[in-house]
Each structure stands twice: as structure tokens, then as C-alpha cells.
């Protein structure tokens, strides 16, 4: 186990501060639980201060990381890839995974949609053009031989803020929506929708897993403080394990944290059903991220292909910790 | 302006004006027990106190008095631009509730609309009486010509001199063709010659149309030359101190000795009033001086005496 701080470091008596970013969201449960339980603090020791940074959108978190105000962050793979490419591979790297699942296609009662093929002529919402759900939807459409209206097809794909999606669902202005939790649960409950596709089912080849949240590290920070990143990842793994072993305690804790951070609690039933559709893992699910990138390139959202993402993943610190724990390394 | 024969007759009438209330309804304008007060940080200031005044239809009444005695305020009350704190103001026996084009005012400041050219300013007054644009323009130019400003019809107020602005205001008021003309020192900014010409014009209009005119002036000779009656106002409290009926034949000329003699009488009346003010004011100023520089501009209070005017 790592020793005390290197004596070679400049004699800054002030404790080092690590800025940890996350969303007050179920898919970010590992961060919420680990911070609440003190797992991270314990692992980093008294000389390192953790500053929590709560975000609501990936791009802002990337911006803050670019501005060196974030060192380690929980974030969706989309913004992580964008951030990596926009900084020409210099700003950040993915060092671990955090969650999987929690996305899918909800259709409105009475819309007549039964599967992807029947989306022809319908209006479908996604949270954001070029985002993960948009890519998943368009790829699924492609597989079903359909196209969106902007490509000369018949399916109207609309980027709509999730909050508005519910309203528009209720008003009958949308037929379906490809969204993430907790919106799946809310569309089902409050919008009388049905979950027609659980996105996990589309990823049979990776064991019904695909990256929803990953852990990124600012590259400079990793260079300067590899030991802190390792300690952080150790705590991260510990927390993933703990969540697996204590799902009820964990979900309750997450609910409390969301309430504390955003001033607003999720209804218990929404929390519960969202929790059920989300998996937690430290595996970055590299292949699924790269597959997304491929689709993204096909759809014209990305200019670069897979080859530009060579250094996106850095699993060395994670694998170091895993080997210490005598666990199987991540590819 | 050459006048051949002049007669004079002066009647000093005591005030309050001794008409009964019933009779008041027969007058064009009837003010009864008018009081106007202004309240400001310095407290309440009584400007008009128990002013009683009846004016017959077709009368030409001149108003003279020291600066700040309430002449403009009195005109405003009649115009309906200022509501008296108490007392009744009637026009044709009906209470005056607000301003109206039946009582045109020539304000002390020209009060032209800066966004309208001279001729447009006059046209504004004609809008309700003449619908047809061409006819309205023609009429407006006619009135502008009357004040010798036809050449400046298209000029905007800021392109005119002070006297020219005042003349546009006169043209505008005349264009309203009102029942009653309230003129507040309308010729103050004009040279004597232009003034004379306009005076003749105003008298002609008055005689031809039978308008009722109340004319504020600082020129006592002018007042005598114009008015059927000259009202001398005093200050503290502001009220009509003297009322002089001028029974001279018209047209009258300011240069004539008869007019001048009458004017001199009025001036003597006024002088005592002004001497009083000057005394009051300089006493007060002297008192202030001792306390001067207490730092608070809004709280000037009285103290002991001092001499004045030797500080330059």
C-alpha cells in the first residue's frame, strides 16, 4: 500500500485539494455513496481535501475540467469523448466505469408504436442531438431500415429537454422518447408510457452492459498525482462493491444525497424503478464506448474515428489497483 | 400706430369684487374665494388668497404685478391646468374642471413641441377644427404669416430664436380660435416694433371676434393701452389689490400722454407693493446671511442682520 507523501514535492504545507465532479443522479450513485460514506476521504487520507462539485450537465463539467477546476469526474461517455477530442486528446482520460443501463425507448399509450419498425411517421424525442440516446435511436432506426426526417426519412427526431418531454408526452405531441432514468420511470408513471426497449437488451454481446457513466481524470492531474488517482480508484471499487452488497441501503443513501444536493427528493417509486434498471460497475466498458463512437462517426456527429480515441482509455491505474486486490484486469 | 384723440377715466374699485353669487353666472369667468397653496419641503406657501374676479364676455383684462405674485398661477386656475385648493372657478356659469381648447393659453415659456416644425405646431391646434389637411396647412401658414414666420414654417423649434418660438406659440394659441385667450407675457421676448405690430393684431382679433382676453404683462403702458380693466396683483398673500377700469377710446397708443399718465398712476400703486417685497426680501436675506453655510441646503433658517450687495 502506498506510503506517505513524497518528500520531493514542493514544501506546500497546505493540503492538496482534489476537485471531484458528479451529478446528483442515480447513474452517479457511486460518487454519491462514496462521498457520503466517507470512503473516498478515508482512502485519500487527511492530507488530501476533497472538494465536491455537483453539475447538471456534462458539457459544463468538461468546461470546468478544461479550466482545471475539476480533477476527477463522473460523467457520461458522450461528453467524455467530446472533451477528449476537443482537447486533441490532451485534457482527460477515462480511468474507470461507474454505471451501465438506465436508458431506453418509452412509447406513449395510444401512439401505436410497438417496436422500432413502427416508428415510421412518428415523432420521437431524444434529450440532445448527438447525445448517446440520439445515437442509439438513430442506429436502431438504421437497423430497422428507417431514416429520420432530416435524412429524408419518415421519423421525426426531436431534441427535447427531458422535462419538456414529459409535458409533451402528456399533451400527446410526442409518440415516443429515448431517454434515461429517472425519466423512463416518470414517463411510464406520469405519462402513461410503456418501456418498449430496454437499451440493455441491445447489448447482448457485452453481457447486457453498456457505459452510462464513466470516471474521467484530468491528464495533468494524473501525471502529477498518480498515487491519489490510484487511491481514489480503490475507493471507487470498494463503493461499487458495497452498492452491490447493500442495494437497499445504497438506494436510500442516494435518495438522501440527491435531496441534499439539489434540494429536491425523487419519489420513492421512481427511485426504486430507476434503480432497478441501472447497474453499477467499475468496468469502463471500453468496447461499448468505442462502438458508440463508430455509430457517431457513421451518423456524421464525429469527424474522427476510433483511431483518434487511442489514448481515451487509461486502465493502468485501475488495473494496478485490481491486481493489488487480486482481481481480474480490465482489457 | 398714430392715435389722434384720447380721453381718460380711472376708477379705483375696492376689492373683494362686490358681485353677488347669483350674478356670477352671467359672467364669462367668475372666480370666487380662490385659494392656491403649494406645499414643498419649506412648508406650505399660500400663493393666491381669496381671489375674487369676474370677467365679462368680450372683456380685455390686463394683469400686472410683481414677479412671483401669482399671475401665472391665476391664469392656470382659469385654464383648468391647476385646481384651486378652495373656492369656485366658473366659466359661463359652469365649474372649470380641466383644460380645454375653449381657453387657449400662451405660456410664459413657448411650450412648443420640439418634434414638430413651426407649421406643424400650429397645425396641432387646428386638428380638431379642420379635418382637411390642405385647408389645415393653409390656415396654419396664415397664422404663421400673422407673426411674420411664414419663412420659418418648416423650421423646428430649436432652430428658432427665443422670440420666434414665442411667436409660434402665439400663432398656435390664435389658431385654436378659443373663446378665451389667456396670454402670459406673450410679447416679453419680442422687440418693441414686432411687439407693436402684434399688439395691433391682437386688438383687431379681439374687436372682430369678441373674444375674452386676459393678458399678463410687465409693461404697464401696454396694460393701459390694451385693457378694459387693469388688475394689479400684490404678494403675500397674492391677491388683486387694485382694479382700474380704463375708459379710454381705442385704438390707444402707448406714446400718448394720457395713456402714460394713467400708467404712471398704476405704477405708483405697484411701486408700494414692490417696495414692501424688497424690504421683506432683503430683511430675510440679511437674516439668512448670519446662518449661511450650515451645510444643509434644505434647511435655511433665520438669524441676525447683515448688509447686502457689497460683496462683488
Amino acid at each position: 500500500s502506498p506510503g506517505k507523501k513524497e518528500p520531493s514535492k514542493p514544501s506546500s504545507s497546505a493540503p492538496l485539494t482534489v476537485h471531484v465532479a458528479f451529478f446528483p443522479n442515480i447513474t452517479h450513485a457511486v460518487a454519491l455513496v462514496g462521498l457520503a460514506n466517507g470512503t473516498f476521504a478515508k482512502a485519500l487520507g487527511p492530507d488530501v481535501k476533497i472538494e465536491e462539485q455537483s453539475f447538471t450537465a456534462g458539457p459544463s463539467e468538461i468546461e470546468a475540467l478544461f479550466a482545471r477546476s475539476v480533477d476527477i469526474g463522473y460523467i457520461g461517455p458522450g461528453p467524455a469523448v467530446n472533451g477528449f477530442l476537443k482537447s486533441h486528446g490532451k485534457a482527460l482520460q477515462i480511468v474507470a466505469g461507474a454505471s451501465s443501463g438506465g436508458a431506453g425507448l418509452v412509447v406513449r399509450e395510444g401512439s401505436g408504436v410497438t417496436d422500432v419498425k413502427t416508428l415510421a411517421g412518428k415523432r420521437v424525442a431524444v434529450p440532445q442531438t448527438g447525445g448517446t440516446q440520439d445515437i442509439s435511436l438513430r442506429h436502431s432506426l438504421q437497423l430497422a431500415g428507417l431514416k429520420s426526417t432530416d435524412q429524408g426519412g419518415s421519423v421525426t427526431v426531436l431534441p427535447v429537454a427531458p422535462a419538456d418531454t414529459l409535458t409533451l408526452f402528456q399533451k400527446g405531441e410526442l409518440d415516443a422518447a429515448w431517454v434515461t432514468e429517472p425519466w423512463i420511470s416518470r414517463l411510464v408513471k406520469e405519462g402513461h408510457g410503456t418501456l418498449k426497449i430496454d437499451e440493455r437488451d441491445l447489448w447482448q454481446q457485452s453481457g447486457r452492459k453498456f457505459a452510462t457513466t464513466v470516471v474521467i481524470v484530468r491528464t495533468d492531474f494524473l501525471k502529477d498525482h498518480p498515487e491519489i488517482v490510484s487511491k481514489f480508484l480503490q475507493a471507487h471499487i470498494e463503493t461499487v462493491d458495497w452498492i452491490g452488497g447493500h442495494p437497499d441501503d445504497a438506494s436510500k443513501l442516494v435518495g438522501d444525497q440527491i435531496k441534499k444536493l439539489s434540494g429536491k427528493s425523487l419519489p420513492a417509486d421512481i427511485l426504486k424503478s430507476s434503480w432497478g434498471r441501472t447497474d453499477f460497475t467499475y468496468d469502463p466498458l471500453k468496447d461499448t464506448v468505442l462502438t458508440f463512437a463508430d455509430w457517431s462517426k457513421q451518423l456524421g456527429y464525429l469527424k474522427d474515428d476510433r483511431s483518434a480515441l487511442g489514448d481515451l482509455f487509461n486502465t493502468n491505474p485501475l488495473n494496478g489497483v485490481l491486481s493489488n486486490l487480486k482481481r481480474r484486469a480490465i482489457p | 400706430m398714430e392715435v389722434t384723440a384720447l380721453k381718460s377715466a380711472v376708477f379705483d374699485t375696492p376689492i373683494p369684487y362686490p358681485e353677488t353669487v347669483e350674478a356670477a353666472t352671467a359672467h364669462k369667468i367668475s372666480l370666487k374665494d380662490i385659494n392656491v397653496r403649494f406645499s414643498s419641503k419649506q412648508g406650505v406657501r399660500s400663493v393666491l388668497e381669496n381671489v375674487n374676479l369676474n370677467i365679462n364676455a368680450g372683456e380685455f383684462v390686463c394683469l400686472v404685478g410683481p414677479s412671483g405674485c401669482g399671475k401665472s398661477t391665476l391664469l392656470n386656475v382659469i385654464a383648468g391646468l391647476h385646481r384651486a385648493d378652495s373656492g369656485s372657478a366658473l366659466k359661463d356659469g359652469k365649474a372649470i374642471t380641466g383644460p380645454g381648447p375653449d381657453r387657449a393659453v400662451i405660456f410664459q415659456e413657448a411650450a412648443l413641441f420640439p418634434w414638430l416644425s413651426a407649421v406643424q405646431n400650429v397645425e396641432f391646434a387646428l386638428k380638431s377644427s379642420i379635418r382637411d389637411k390642405k385647408a389645415r396647412r393653409a390656415k396654419a401658414l396664415e397664422y404663421l404669416g400673422m407673426v411674420h414666420l411664414a419663412r420659418f414654417a418648416a423650421s423646428y423649434p430649436h432652430e428658432l430664436s427665443g422670440g420666434m418660438r414665442q411667436r409660434v406659440a402665439i400663432a398656435r394659441a390664435l389658431a385654436l380660435n378659443p373663446d378665451i385667450l389667456l396670454m402670459d407675457e406673450p410679447f416679453a421676448a419680442l422687440d418693441a416694433q414686432t411687439r407693436d405690430i402684434l399688439l395691433i393684431e391682437v386688438q383687431r382679433i379681439w374687436q372682430e371676434t369678441g373674444k375674452t382676453i386676459i393678458f399678463v404683462t410687465h409693461n404697464v403702458l401696454e396694460a393701459v393701452a390694451l385693457g378694459d380693466r387693469v388688475l394689479c396683483m400684490g404678494v403675500r398673500p397674492g391677491c388683486i389689490r387694485q382694479e382700474i377700469t380704463v375708459a379710454l377710446p381705442r385704438p390707444r397708443a402707448v406714446e400718448e400722454p394720457e395713456t402714460a399718465r394713467l400708467a404712471k398712476r398704476i405704477m405708483t400703486h405697484l411701486r408700494s407693493e414692490i417696495d414692501k417685497i424688497v424690504q421683506e426680501e432683503s430683511d430675510h436675506a440679511a437674516r439668512e446671511l448670519a446662518l449661511a453655510g450650515d451645510g444643509d441646503p434644505d434647511r435655511l433658517r433665520h438669524t441676525t442682520a447683515n448688509t447686502m450687495g457689497d460683496g462683488i
Partner: protein, 236 residues
């Protein structure tokens, strides 16, 4: 850790050449011209509507003290609301339609214009009002021929504020995606931001500033010059 406070981050802020490249690309593939056209149409409609409605409410607020007392504080209160407050209402009332975007834009500028017009009218020198009422001008004629022109310099200044509010609100309103074919500048901006594509964001910012400059030169400054000249406000 020494660079925590650098003034120009190359990740976040691409250099001019990169911005120009993005601008060039956006121009060539038609994104930008279309976005500008769409947003200008929307702002035109929204701004004019806001000016009209705002002038009417402003006149009423300015001319009638009762209305002013009742409405003016509320107007300021409502004007402080960010546009995202109006988005849900827009969606509920107008669905995903151009009218929803128009609604958000108008709501952004309307009360700013009202406040400016009403303040402008209340600051008219009383002498003009006295002259007007003396000449029997009242009702619509008083409003149209005296109050509005007298307050015009203030109204033009207020219109600039309204213009800025309208743009900011449009940028928020365009987050309502009406149809995939009609991406305005707001959507282009947001997409750049969503993709952390700062050169895209800066390119749109440049275009926005440019539109503002042109609008000022072509409309506001010109109007101001005419009005100030005619009103005799131009300092010699």
C-alpha cells in the same frame, strides 16, 4: 497547479484561425446562413410584437397613474424571470411550434419595453402635457401625437434593451426544438456547447455580436440620430 488561473486556455478557447475555420465551414455547409435567416425571422417577429405590445402597455402605465401603481412593480418582477421559466408555459400553451418560440421571445422583451416606455412617458417635461391638454388633445390622440413622440428618445433607448432581451430569450426559446430542419442560432450555439465545441460557440457569438452591431448601425443609431437632430438634442 501553477496554471490554475491562466487567462486563456487553448482547450476552451481556440485561436482566431480555428474560429475562422469553423466559421468558414459553417458558411460553406449552409448551417450558419440558414441559422441566421431563421433566427432573424424569429427575432424580427418577436421584437416587433414586443415593441407593439410593450408600447401599448407602457403608454397605459405611463399615462394612467392607477395602472402604473398596480402594474409597474409586477412588470419589474416578471421581467427578472429568466426565460427558462417561460419555456414550460410555452410548451403547454403552444406545444412544439414556432409560436412557442415567439412566445418566449416576446415575453423576454415585452415588459422591458413597457417599463422603458412608461418611464419615458413619466419623464416627459410637464410643460408639453400642459400645452397638449390646453389644446384639447386627449385619449388616443394625446397618446399617439404627444406622449409617444415626447418619450421617443427614451423609447429608442428602451428598444435597445428590449432588443437585447429579445435575443437572449430567443436563444433560450430556440432550445425548444420545433423541427429538425429549422436550427436557429440558439440551437447552433447550444449544440456547440453540448459538444464542448468552443470554436463553434465562439463562431456563433461572433455572428451574434455582428448582428447586434449591424442592427445598431442600421436601425438604432440611425433612428437616434434622426430623433436627436429633430428634437434639437444634438450637442453642437
Amino acid at each position: 497547479m501553477g496554471f490554475r488561473r491562466e487567462w486563456w486556455s487553448s482547450y476552451l478557447f481556440p485561436g482566431p484561425s480555428e474560429i475562422l475555420k469553423t466559421l468558414g465551414a459553417d458558411l460553406r455547409d449552409g448551417t450558419l446562413p440558414i441559422a441566421v435567416k431563421i433566427s432573424l425571422t424569429r427575432i424580427g417577429l418577436g421584437f416587433v410584437t414586443a415593441m407593439l405590445l410593450g408600447s401599448i402597455t407602457g403608454i397605459l402605465m405611463g399615462a394612467l397613474p392607477v395602472v402604473h401603481r398596480a402594474v409597474s412593480p409586477l412588470a419589474l418582477g416578471l421581467q427578472t424571470l429568466p426565460s427558462i421559466c417561460w419555456l414550460p408555459l410555452a410548451v403547454i400553451w403552444f406545444g412544439l411550434s414556432e409560436r412557442a418560440i415567439l412566445f418566449v421571445t416576446v415575453m423576454g422583451a415585452l415588459l422591458a419595453v413597457s417599463i422603458a416606455v412608461s418611464d419615458g412617458i413619466r419623464n416627459i417635461p410637464p410643460l408639453y402635457l400642459r400645452a397638449a391638454s390646453m389644446m384639447g388633445a386627449r385619449g388616443p390622440r394625446l397618446y399617439a401625437e404627444v406622449l409617444l413622440p415626447a418619450a421617443l428618445p427614451a423609447i429608442i433607448s428602451g428598444a435597445k434593451q428590449g432588443w437585447a432581451f429579445a435575443w437572449r430569450s430567443l436563444m433560450a426559446g430556440e432550445l425548444l426544438s420545433v423541427s429538425t430542419g429549422s436550427l436557429g442560432l440558439g440551437q447552433t450555439l447550444m449544440r456547440g456547447r453540448d459538444l464542448n465545441d468552443m470554436s463553434q460557440v465562439l463562431a456563433v457569438m461572433l455572428v451574434l455580436v455582428l448582428i447586434g452591431v449591424v442592427a445598431d448601425r442600421l436601425v438604432f443609431s440611425r433612428l437616434e440620430r434622426i430623433v436627436r437632430q429633430r428634437w434639437g438634442l444634438a450637442v453642437a
